[in-house]
């Protein structure tokens, strides 16, 4: 009886322990000290659908800083067969701006345990776009993924708003002054006549 009880308790403890492991894995939530090579660093995950593939992109850490090692993981599975894409993925990076964005190749990666992994280190804070490119079934696939490194300045949008508002207020003011002046001139002309 006591051996059965022991076995039961052991099984129960194992189950509890396994649940913890599973939960920890499913959560993907970090310990603060874990690095980018850990299985559970803080990550940002984006799921997208492109052509015949479901693509999942994960960035480690979720909010990288300049000079800090980071990594992009890409999973691509075929929508109908559910099989992982097996080929080569080229990772590129460019500045996230409208004009004059230079593109650099980060690397070309083969599949490793169902995942394409690409490491990165950014020298400067800023907004970037990481692109993953691959060819499957003769079709080219290109996935863009925005990435912010460090803190970007809030002055951009606020400055633009302030500038636009002041430009508008000045224009309105000029038009209004001209109107008033025209009114005064017309009134004076009427008085004369």
């Amino acid at each position: 009886m006591s051996s059965k009880l022991n076995k039961f308790l052991l099984a129960l403890i194992s189950l509890i322990y396994m649940n913890n492991l599973l939960a920890h894995h499913v959560l993907g939530r970090p310990s603060y000290s874990l690095g980018e090579d850990s299985t559970t660093p803080p990550s940002m995950q984006v799921e997208t659908q492109i052509g015949q593939y479901f693509v999942t992109y994960m960035v480690f850490p979720a909010f990288p800083k300049a000079g800090q090692n980071g990594r992009v993981n890409l999973y691509a599975t075929h929508m109908s067969s559910g099989k992982a894409f097996n080929g080569e993925v080229t990772f590129k990076v460019k500045d996230d701006k409208w004009f004059g964005a230079k593109t650099e190749i980060l690397g070309k990666q083969k599949i490793d345990d169902g995942v394409y992994r690409q490491g990165f280190v950014f020298r400067q804070d800023g907004d970037y776009i990481i692109s993953a490119f691959f060819i499957a079934d003769g079709e080219p696939y290109n996935i863009d993924f925005p990435l912010r490194v460090g803190q970007t300045s809030a002055i951009g949008p606020i400055g633009l708003t302030v500038l636009a508002v002041f430009a508008l207020l000045i224009i309105v003011n000029i038009i209004q002054r001209k109107r008033l002046l025209r009114g005064k001139i017309q009134a004076a002309a009427q008085e004369k006549s």
């Binding site: 959560l27 492109i50 052509g51 909010f63 809030a154 949008p157 508002v165 508008l168």
Partner: protein, 506 residues
Amino acid sequence: MTMTHPGLPALWVNLIWLFMLLVSLWVLFSRVPERSEHRYLLMSKIPLLGRLVHFLNASPWPLQLMKLLMVGVFLIVIYAGLQGTQIPERNLSTVMTWNLWWAGLVIAVFFTGSAWCAVCPWDALATWLVRRRLWRRAVPNNSLNLKVPKWMRNVWPALLMFMALTWFELGVGVTNDPYATSILALLMLVMAIVFLSVFENKAFCHYVCPVGRTVGYYAQLAPVELRPINTDICANCTTLECYHGSDTIEPCPTHLVMGTLQQNTFCTSCGNCVQSCPDNNVSWRLRSQSVEVRQDARPRWDEAWFMLGLLTLTSFHGITMLPFWYEGISQFGSWIGDSGRLLTSFSLGMLFIMFAPIAVYALLVFWAKKWMGDRARFTQVFSVLAFASLPLAFSYHIAHNLNHLVRESTDLIALFSNPLGTDTQPLGMMEKHERHLNMIISQDTLFWLQAGLMLFGFWLAMQVIRYRGYALFAEKKLWVIPIIIFAIAIHGFDLWILSQPMTMRM
């Protein structure tokens, strides 16, 4: 892993269904109601509340102070979104905007009508910048004062803006993006300033602002109104300070004349009329929540579309938070060859869910109109009966928002003490569970409130059908059957959504 909120229990759902069927039958067999007298209670006569109302109205400063407070919060929200962490549940910008303000706003309308518009930070900032005055009337008012083009003098722009807001919120996912939330808020501010600088009075509030119009239409169901105390004084008034303003007080921002005012829709609760009336003849009063929507409000074609749009887009909000929504859109995307963030699929889905019920409504109106013959035009029947959609939309909207407000807005002390979310980590699954366990009110109370709201909304809709429908159909009771079918179908569908597990927003 996605976490969901439990839906309304089956017992409540069945009871509401029973209530809906019984009330529908009662509408068909009850006597035709007569236009009821407008009963009200002056708030200034109520003990304590009267003093508060007097304090708020006697001087412009209480309102200005509230505006200052709102503008301060607004600026912090903007800064937090642009400069703080991009973890949505840790940034004041997203939590304040979407979980507290947007969810709580509709609930606030239930009690205070369009009071939000009086302290709206977009309008306050725009007014201060353009008029260059804190509150007194500016002469000249520093605006080009152009008349709003005739084609824009309706609520179609507001409906388009509301659709765009829904698209950004649910399609682009602004609710989970502090940066984009701040940009959206700045964009609204710029629009408010542009309209105030170019057009006379407050054209943005009147015709364009999706928040103001949503609040305005829902305010038809509010228990408060700003009205003349004695209509005879208004009838004999020749100066119309409420409309034109006085030497120190701005005119009514939305061109309303107090003597003829019958609906809250375009009243921004700014209190200019209270301040400017030389006879002190304007006051807040309490009233029945159904009186405006069932008899006082004037039907208009564009406004009917806005109310129906509110109804269907509110249901759409609920649908997108059901766990199978993403799978459905993903499947649809693969059929039509959509890729990336599936925005085309989302947009088509949104348009379908928005317009399909309106098309069904139009068909049912057409059916009722066929019975009527030439007694009324199609547009007239369409516009009049659309008022029934307002309580249906309002009740479901509040019931849905209560879920967000009650279940997702805990741990606010931590959020307000670190509004930028500096050095925070994403919300862990354990914390999400804790939120479920530490709700602001108990789950049973939440279900009571949600069920009560759904009952109340349907009851009001039936009142609208009784009063407006029978007046329109010359007391022929069977002719209201199509619109009763519509109300049961749409409210039943909303009830079903409410009974489903709902995906947590953040």
